[in-house]
């Protein structure tokens, strides 16, 4: 029993040290992580911390500038902007994480599979990836939304599909270099199952680029939702969503009631900024070639 506990402590301490080390070496990355954590907390606890109902109209308080009652002001419908931004964090993170994880994992499976099996499988998969890669992103998203309509899950689908080939391409490149390593061949000849070899030996070796891509994808997905919103086909009212808030607000009120446009814009920019900083730092930390000596 004691031995196990000691082990756990040791593991904890090393995690703790690693985290501290990360913070010390990567001040920008830590800052980015802090932004991400704040956004995540806001999204998770929206019910408790949002001062108002994010969807209820208040015609007595339309387009009011920031005040004590409404810290960030109100929008055209008199809805509290702070509350909408807090709830919007949830929408943004759901879209960001789900798209990134689904797109990333699909890419991981296809990339590793393509590299491991090689030959015809690889050739065919690569042609499919080529097609998806070359296909204009926003056009595919527009088509997907036009086919299925504008629900949150459809918007996620529209954003996810284009992420898959980009992840698969990078993972395949990393996995290919591992595949040539002699011990993989050795494992094959000694009769280990494909699944075992892939999971035990290949996947761990592509985790680094995979994680870096994931953090980048979250930010890209949030931005993609904003672009779709600008074309009118993102998340729809009354769901609080940053891209949606920016679309109506930025177009109509940028000059007369700038707070309606500025705060959701800041929310998007800051969050994506946070993810990018964190992702960069993660890359620097994981990739030994870039690590300082």
């Amino acid at each position: 029993m004691t031995a196990v506990t000691d082990d756990t402590i040791a593991v904890r301490r090393s995690w703790h040290d690693a985290a501290l080390g990360f913070c010390r070496r990567q001040p920008l990355g830590t800052f980015g992580l802090a932004i991400v954590v704040i956004a995540a907390l806001a999204g998770l606890s929206a019910e408790w911390i949002a001062p108002y109902n994010p969807t209820s109209n208040d015609f007595e308080a339309m387009t009011q500038p920031p005040s004590l009652a409404h810290w960030l002001g109100t929008d055209q419908f008199g809805r509290d902007l702070l509350s909408r931004i807090i709830y919007g964090a949830r929408t943004a993170l759901i879209i960001g994480f789900v798209s990134a994880f689904v797109g990333g994992f699909a890419g991981l499976v296809l990339g590793v599979g393509s590299a491991y099996f090689g030959g015809t499988t690889d050739l065919i998969l690569q042609r499919v990836m080529d097609v998806l890669m070359a296909f204009p992103l926003i056009i595919m998203a527009l088509a997907v939304v036009a086919i299925f309509g504008t629900g949150v899950q459809n918007v996620i689908a529209a954003i996810t599909v284009p992420l898959i080939p980009r992840c698969a391409r990078v993972i395949r490149a990393s996995a290919l270099s591992i595949r040539e390593v002699p011990y993989i061949d050795a494992a094959r000849t000694s009769g280990f199952s494909h699944a075992r070899i892939i999971l035990r030996h290949m996947v761990p070796n592509v985790v680094a680029p995979f994680l870096i891509m994931l953090t980048a994808f979250v930010g890209q997905a949030i931005l993609a939702e904003a672009s779709l919103s600008y074309l009118g086909l993102g998340v729809q009212e009354p769901t609080p969503a940053w891209g949606l808030m920016l679309q109506g607000g930025a177009e109509e009120y940028a000059s007369t009631a700038p707070w309606i446009a500025v705060f959701p814009g800041l929310a998007i920019a800051l969050t994506v900024f946070g993810f990018s900083l964190f992702g960069d730092a993660l890359r620097d930390a994981i990739d030994p070639k870039l690590r300082e000596r």
Partner: protein
């Protein structure tokens, strides 16, 4: 080398056919069709009018026949006519190409001009304050929605000109080609080129920085340093040249992706370019035009990628054509 290029071009054929099939199916999965859109905007859709329209556009033929027509047409360089305007697809695209191309090239110039010096400086002073500021600005460029940047940049120009000259000014909204009136033309394209270029430069700068960092740790740079060569010389002669490889790749690939950036930016600045045409074609469910535009983009993508790879190999003698 020629065999390599030929090989690559052959590999592009399945990509093109795949893209053709994808766009063909995707467009037909969208409920309704161009006849519904056309008749619907005025609210007088009756079954007879829709059937008449289908017959006129050949949409009553079997899907297989339509696909065959499309692929054969594409292979023989005949894109047909736009279902929306009835004009030839070649004409529709040709009238939109100049403005988009101009912005794409200008944006690339802006991006390269900003990104490479800043990225290099950032790498040379890794983790200094300068590095942090440069990286922050770069990441901000990636993090800001481009339409937001566009809308704000016009507003800022309006407000600043109003404050300075007493009358608000903005670039003209009617496009004139560069050869007809260079000044008029440049004043239209400069803001969109800057907004796209900013994002583009941010991506390029980060790549330059990390490529530089990697190269600076290579043995031959250490050797050069150990030999006591001037830092300036090391950077210019050795490091930068080698770091440029991935950067060139990225610039090439991003150039092919520019079309995505144009889709939104052309809307913001009301430019009659390829990006806007693309959105319209999809929204109008103009099959022939969308198909042609997708094939064009995919072809550009394939060619750019190939060009980048060839350039890459040419710059780096270690890479052999296999």
């Amino acid at each position: 080398m020629y065999r390599y290029i030929l090989n690559r071009l052959l590999l592009a054929v399945p990509t093109l056919i795949g893209a053709a099939a994808l766009v063909f199916i995707l467009m037909r999965l969208i409920p309704g069709d161009i006849c519904v859109v056309r008749l619907g905007t005025g609210g007088s859709i009756n079954a007879a009018a829709v059937a008449n329209c289908h017959a006129q556009l050949g949409l009553d033929r079997s899907l297989l026949l339509q696909f065959f027509d499309f692929v054969v047409g594409f292979a023989s360089g005949n894109f047909g006519t736009s279902m929306w305007s009835g004009k030839s697809v070649a004409h529709e695209i040709a009238t939109r190409i100049p403005v988009s191309l101009e912005i794409a090239i200008l944006a690339t110039v802006v991006a390269v001009a900003i990104a490479i010096p800043l990225g290099t400086i950032s790498a040379l002073h890794q983790n200094s304050w300068l590095d942090h500021i440069v990286r922050t600005v770069a990441i901000a460029g990636i993090a800001t929605p481009s339409f937001w940047l566009g809308i704000m940049s016009i507003l800022i120009v309006l407000d600043v000109s109003h404050a300075l000259f007493g009358a608000p000014w903005m670039p003209p909204i009617d496009y004139v080609s560069f050869w007809d009136d260079p000044l008029h033309n440049l004043s239209i394209v400069i803001l969109p080129a800057l907004t796209i270029g900013y994002r583009y430069s941010a991506v390029t700068m980060r790549m330059t920085r990390s490529a530089m960092l990697e190269v600076l740790r290579e043995d031959y740079i250490r050797t050069a340093r150990a030999k006591g060569l001037l830092e300036q010389l090391i950077v210019n002669r050795h490091a930068l040249k080698n770091a440029m490889l991935p950067v060139v790749t990225l610039i090439g690939i991003e150039f092919a992706f520019l079309i995505g950036g144009l889709v939104v930016t052309e809307q913001v600045f009301n430019l009659n370019g390829i990006g806007r045409l693309f959105v319209l074609a999809v929204q109008n469910q103009d099959y022939t035009l969308t198909q042609a535009l997708v094939m064009l983009t995919v072809a550009i993508f394939v060619v750019t990628n190939l060009a980048v790879d060839v350039l890459y190999a040419w710059l780096d003698p270690r890479i052999r054509f296999g």
